[in-house]
């Protein structure tokens, strides 16, 4: 307590420094935090990148007129462009296509126009007397014919244009057509100026008295004056007065765009290269009477169109005729009922009813000469009620044998002739179902069975003269009827899957020896057999002579004749004996 100070000295010092730092903290803490934050911002690359990216657009905008920045960026931009071009050319193509497209189209259109023009002129004059003279001229002058024609039909053509510096007379720009004869455009330019000066001085200094055109042989030179430049054009032929306006416009535009260059011109014309399009626009031309006479190419196209039209017209007239014929034909065709026939200008619609037995309309369409694919047709089935159709239908359904005749009496189907019992029965059942048939009548149909036929065959005998095996004419008369019956039998047998064997049996009278009689029997049987077989009796029928095993005489007729024995047996089985 006595020496508090000395005792507390060191403590005091520590206390003070602590106090100081506290004081500093108190005083400077906000700045310290700021400093730390700044330090952090400077050290952290991510943070800095973020900041710069925010500032960059603004910075670039500020520097947009600075050539240094442009110079620095250019190689990078170029590099980037080329890399991008290499990697995805399509993107670039897509981007520039809208610009290039119209430019290319424009160029093509111009090229086509001039081609058409020279083509027109050439065609027009190729075959005329004048054309012949010009051809000779072309041949003698060595100029192409097309060029010669152009020269002759030329109203005017501006072949050269000179843009001349007014004071020095020096040439600033010069353009010429491909065909123009260009000598020394610089000297021409100088001379033009000299001549102009001469005229100017000789006829007084007023501007309206300046030389504005003069004639040199087949050329006219037009001179348009400007404050600092002169536009001179060399014209072949006679240009319209309005062409002066074109020249003045051109000159004005050049004065506007090249004002500085014209004033400060010191002999270096390179900066006037940009006026070339302006001058080229002055190289106009006009050829003879394109308005009065249409372009031969157009005429040719027109003629072709007309021819096409005529062909088409004739074709459609002919098609019209064919169509009418077809419609008439279809209308008159039995079994077809035409309900719709429409011509839609070369396309046709057909609709109607068609009996299944009628002529196929597609074959009629094909025969009409019209293109089948231009005709659309729909046919609905129906039953025609014409007698011929009812009959055909009945025949198709009933399938009568040849021996039966079907006729139609009104709506009654009448059958006559001979037929097998089975058929007659079936026909009686089916006939009412034939469309168009109301009733069926078969009273006149004689039904036959195989038994009947066999009986009638076996009933026949062919007589022979004594000791003869030749069939005499009277007896031969029986043969055709016999054949007919044999055929019917064959027919029936075939239908029921049976086979027929017809045995021809010769007989003799009591006279003569046993041997001659046997021979006679045999030869008579053979004669009849071959007479029957000559024209065929059917595939299910076998004709045979008496078998070798001679039947005993007691059972035999003792007449000079041949008789028949018929046996029927199922197909493929062995012959059964006659019952």
């Amino acid at each position: 307590m006595v020496e508090p100070s000395s005792k507390n000295m060191p403590n005091l010092t520590t206390d003070m420094s602590e106090d100081l730092s506290e004081l500093r903290n108190l005083l400077l803490a906000p700045e310290q935090t700021q400093l730390d934050r700044l330090q952090e911002r400077l050290d952290d690359p991510v943070l800095r990148t973020h900041e710069v990216s925010r500032l960059l657009p603004g910075a670039l905008t500020l520097q947009k007129d600075d050539p240094v920045l442009t110079a620095v960026l250019t190689p990078h931009v170029e590099q980037a462009f080329f890399t991008s071009l290499r990697r995805s050319p399509q993107a670039i193509v897509d981007a520039i296509a809208p610009i290039m497209g119209p430019a290319i189209r424009q160029a093509i259109r111009q090229a086509l126009q001039s081609l058409t023009q020279s083509l027109n002129q050439t065609i027009e004059h190729s075959f005329s007397l004048k054309g012949f003279r010009w051809r000779i001229e072309a041949w003698t002058t060595g100029r192409p014919f097309a060029e010669t024609v152009l020269l002759h039909t030329l109203r005017y053509r501006v072949e050269q244009a000179f843009l001349i510096h007014r004071d020095t007379g020096l040439l600033l720009q010069h353009v010429a057509t491909e065909t123009a004869i260009v000598r020394d455009q610089e000297m021409v330019s100088g001379m033009l100026t000299a001549i102009r000066n001469f005229v100017h001085d000789s006829f007084g200094g007023q501007r309206e008295r300046d030389l504005s055109s003069f004639q040199v042989g087949e050329f006219t030179v037009w001179i348009q004056q400007g404050t600092n430049a002169i536009l001179a054009v060399v014209i072949r032929g006679t240009a319209p007065e309005t062409f002066h306006d074109v020249l003045q416009d051109t000159l004005d535009r050049i004065h506007l765009t090249q004002a500085d260059a014209l004033v400060s011109f010191n002999g270096d014309a390179s900066s006037f290269a940009s006026t070339q399009p302006n001058l080229e626009a002055c190289l106009q031309s006009q050829y003879e009477a394109p308005a009065q006479k249409p372009s031969p190419v157009l005429v040719a196209i027109g003629l072709l169109l007309l021819l096409g039209l005529l062909l088409w017209g004739w074709g459609s007239y002919r098609d019209g005729q064919r169509w009418d014929t077809l419609v008439d034909r279809l209308k008159s065709e039995p079994g077809l009922v035409l309900t719709t026939a429409q011509d839609h200008g070369g396309r046709y619609d057909l609709a109607g009813l068609r009996d299944p037995l009628a002529t196929d309309p597609t074959s009629l369409i094909a025969a009409s000469g019209l293109q089948a694919d231009r005709i659309h047709s729909t046919w609905s089935p129906y039953y025609a009620m014409d007698p011929q159709f009812i009959l055909s239908r009945a025949r198709a359904l009933l399938q009568p044998p040849d021996t039966v005749t079907l006729i139609l009496e009104g709506e009654i189907l009448v059958a006559s002739g001979t037929a097998q019992e089975d058929w007659a029965h079936e026909a009686r059942r089916m006939a009412p179902f034939v469309p168009g048939v109301l009733r069926y009548e078969d009273k006149k149909v004689q039904t036959v069975s195989m038994a009947h036929l066999i009986e009638s065959i076996e009933h026949v005998t062919i007589q022979f003269a004594s000791n003869s095996s030749a069939i005499d004419p009277v007896e031969a008369g029986k043969i055709p009827a016999l054949i007919s019956v044999l055929r019917d039998l064959d027919n029936l047998a075939a239908r029921s899957h049976q086979q027929v064997t017809v045995e021809c049996r010769g007989s003799v009278d009591a006279a003569g020896s046993e041997l001659t009689n046997r021979i006679l029997r045999k030869t008579r049987a053979q004669a009849v057999c071959s007479a029957l077989g000559e024209s065929g009796v059917g595939s299910a029928t076998t004709l045979t002579t008496e078998s070798a095993s001679i039947r005993r005489p007691e059972n035999q007729a003792t007449t000079r004749s041949v008789g028949f024995a018929v046996t029927v047996h199922p197909s493929g089985s062995a012959k059964a004996g006659h019952p």
């Binding site: 007379g169 000297m187 100026t193 010191n266």
Partner: protein, 166 residues
Amino acid sequence: MHKKICMLGGFAVGKTSLVRRFVTNLFSEEYHTSIGVTVEKKILSVAGENVTLMLWDLYGDDEFQRIRESYLRGSSGYILVVDGTRKETLATALGLQRTVEGLLGSIPFALIVNKSDVRDVWEIDDAALSALRQQGWTIFFGSAKTGEAVESLFSTLAHRLLNQAM
């Protein structure tokens, strides 16, 4: 680079002959006085650069020395031609020089005393010209007939035109 140069001098001093010698390397004894202007062209190579000289050969007019102003306009330089056999042509040339300077200001020019091949009838000597030399004039003695000093006359002027332009 194109430059317009005018040939000035009294009549028959040989302006046309000098131009023809320079451009086509030809000479003719016949005299056809020029009427108006003839423009000729010659390309020279000056310090590796091509210069096209458009040479305006004006007619000589002794009497009034009335050179049309319009012909002179736009000239980058001019050549004064004096006939060495006729003393009065020097005076004509001096008069012309004053006229041109009045119209166009001081632009490059050179003077040639022509017909140096006929020294026997010579009327103009070096002494008469020393004053002009003193003033810094470029003076040649030459001949269109022999070609003497013709090339150097034009090329010296061409060089001076370009130096001035640079």
